[in-house]
Symmetry: C2
């Protein structure tokens, strides 16, 4: 057995073809085709304190063809790689589910299917991502559009010049893949990016033309920001040097959403290097905001057991060890209440636009 490490440079198509070459070479030499795959498991994930991101360690695992336990998975890996090569050759993108269907067939002279469910093909796509050092988007795998952007930003999408300051209150629908090959950032004169958890708060700010008065980009993913939204924020942050402020509910899930934007996630640690924004700031809601902004206790929601357990977990995360963060989370726990952004409407419908955010920005009142 000769374990081979696939190429991680050159065009994505070449990297995919390189995999097949390894198999051919092994066969010619009469060896067992074996590829070396980075381990995607908690045991191989660590927080890189100096870079401020969650990243993968160096552990690798061999996957070989002539091994009863691995043969099927090896074959499936090659089928997925083949479908992905087809996408590269044809210049197409597709979904995880379609990859599964594309690669599914009944093996000749048998009743056995190559794949029985998408749960068999998805992890192999992640294996290939880490093995070939190519983001899912570079492998041309996308989800549906899921997010909206508005503000002084001009992009070029498929040859069209799209001015996100001239799209009314609706905005540009953020595609799942916003890599430079698909979306060119032509110009952006904004001073910062506001990444808003909830779509309805984004609508509040879009309706009030907040982005015009405060010269910013309003971006939302309608909940936990999907990859396209995170990647767009990261590109604007990096290429246009814009600070990113995150606006979420004050609950453990809000903290978590912020931390994924900032440090990346444990599950997709490999992607942090291209998705995470270590300098992103937490604009709110902070657990001290209700008092600061005069929100009545009756619009707070009692923390339930799950909230409390999750908050305690987060307290222990390495990337929440800063003094201010420990204070923030402990304060939420001691008050025993969580608050939604929507609760600001209790003051008045435009409180977010006219009072909350202006004061936050003026006081530079955010957490790092």
């Amino acid at each position: 057995m000769a374990t081979m490490r696939p190429k991680t440079t050159g065009s994505v198509e070449k990297r995919l073809i390189g995999l097949a070459d390894l198999v051919v070479q092994a066969a010619e030499r009469g060896k067992d085709p074996t590829i070396d795959i980075p381990v995607r498991a908690l045991s191989n994930v660590k927080f890189n304190e100096s870079r401020g991101i969650i990243e993968m360690g160096g552990n690798r695992q061999a996957r070989s063809f002539f091994n009863v336990g691995m043969a099927k998975k090896f074959m499936q890996t090659m089928l997925v790689a083949d479908a992905l090569s087809e996408l590269q050759r044809a210049g197409l993108t597709t979904s995880l589910r379609e990859i599964y269907y594309r690669a599914k067939h009944t093996i000749q002279d048998s009743h056995e299917n190559t794949f029985d469910g998408q749960n068999e093909s998805d992890p192999l796509i992640e294996d290939l991502e880490v093995t070939l050092a190519a983001l899912r988007e570079e492998l041309h795998v996308r989800a549906e559009n899921a997010g909206t952007v508005i503000g002084p930003l001009v992009v070029v999408d498929d040859g069209d010049r799209v001015d996100c300051a001239k799209l009314g209150k609706g905005g540009y629908s953020v595609p799942s893949i916003v890599e430079p090959e698909y979306l060119r950032i032509k110009s952006c004169t904004a001073d910062f990016i506001l990444l808003i958890e909830k779509g309805t708060q984004w609508n509040r700010l879009a309706e009030d033309k907040f982005w015009r008065k405060y010269n910013c980009i309003l971006l939302t993913g309608n909940g936990q920001p999907p990859r396209g939204v995170r990647r767009l924020a990261r590109r604007l942050h990096e290429e246009m040097r814009l600070p990113v402020y995150v606006l979420v509910d004050n609950d453990p899930w809000g903290y978590y959403i912020y931390s994924v934007v900032k440090q990346g996630s444990i599950n997709l640690a490999f992607e942090s290097q291209r998705m995470a924004i270590p300098k992103a700031k937490f604009m709110g809601l902070s657990s001290t905001d209700p008092e600061k902004y005069g929100l009545p206790r009756n619009v707070g929601i009692k923390l339930n057991e799950k909230d409390i357990d999750r908050a305690k977990e987060i307290l222990n995360y390495q990337w929440f060890q800063k003094k201010e963060w420990q204070k923030e989370i402990r304060h939420m726990l001691s008050v025993g209440l969580k608050y939604e952004l929507d609760a600001l409407a209790n003051k008045d419908f435009q409180f977010l636009t006219n009072k909350y955010l202006p004061r936050k920005l003026k006081d530079r009142d955010w957490l790092d």
Copy 2:
């Protein structure tokens, strides 16, 4: 007790204020303020065969203030109406959740809250919709943007001219409220509308510029189409006289999505008159398509018990009694398989764009 029927004409603001006037008038006459509210229950819903929509019947119910069982609900109805009036006066829109927060406070000299949860305010907004004959959108209540459109359509949104044929592969993010006061349809040169259940299939067609070759509008709501998407399709259908073709998975949920677009839903029967598209056609997937287009059986998914029960329910719906529909549903049941649109990728990644839809359109192969 004098039951009063609120105004259902004039500006929405006047209708809302009219409610308060009824209370004042009753008080001046020493009567119990009582309003007459159409009944929102299955018992008051029927399928109007000639109009082809599900609509509400004429049953009404009195809600009065001096009635122990109704007093709180009466007070809450007025608080919600007050919050809605505020929106009208200020020319703002907001979400269901924010209405709840806005109307929530602790009643003076008590520990009692006006509302304990959004589940108390949401139904009252529906009551006001039917009582005042105003769509939720006319009451300025919105959800987040949830849908995308692309194609030869020019709209005016907040003063901006948005050409949906020049938005690359991303498209215009469909707002929750697309009433004429917010979104003007300036021009549309398309021949038809394709309403696609799944966002990823929409992406396939947007990437392949299907809309350009077949001169159509591509519209998706990423699943069950939300109100904004349905209302936009209805407006384009009505104002631009465009046929609407619906493309869904071949399963009972796909049939149901189609039927909601076409006839409206039982839960929101009141809205059918402004949302339903009785002439919408079911483009597919049909249960006879897999054979017609050579899809292998192994990309079909075995119907589970829930699917079978739901299909049988749908077989009995009054609006699925046409011979072709009975055949369609019974065929799915007899084959015992459901098929997703995504399964077309088994043939090739562009099968939907290059083979399936062109043949469907050429053969005028759809169900009514």
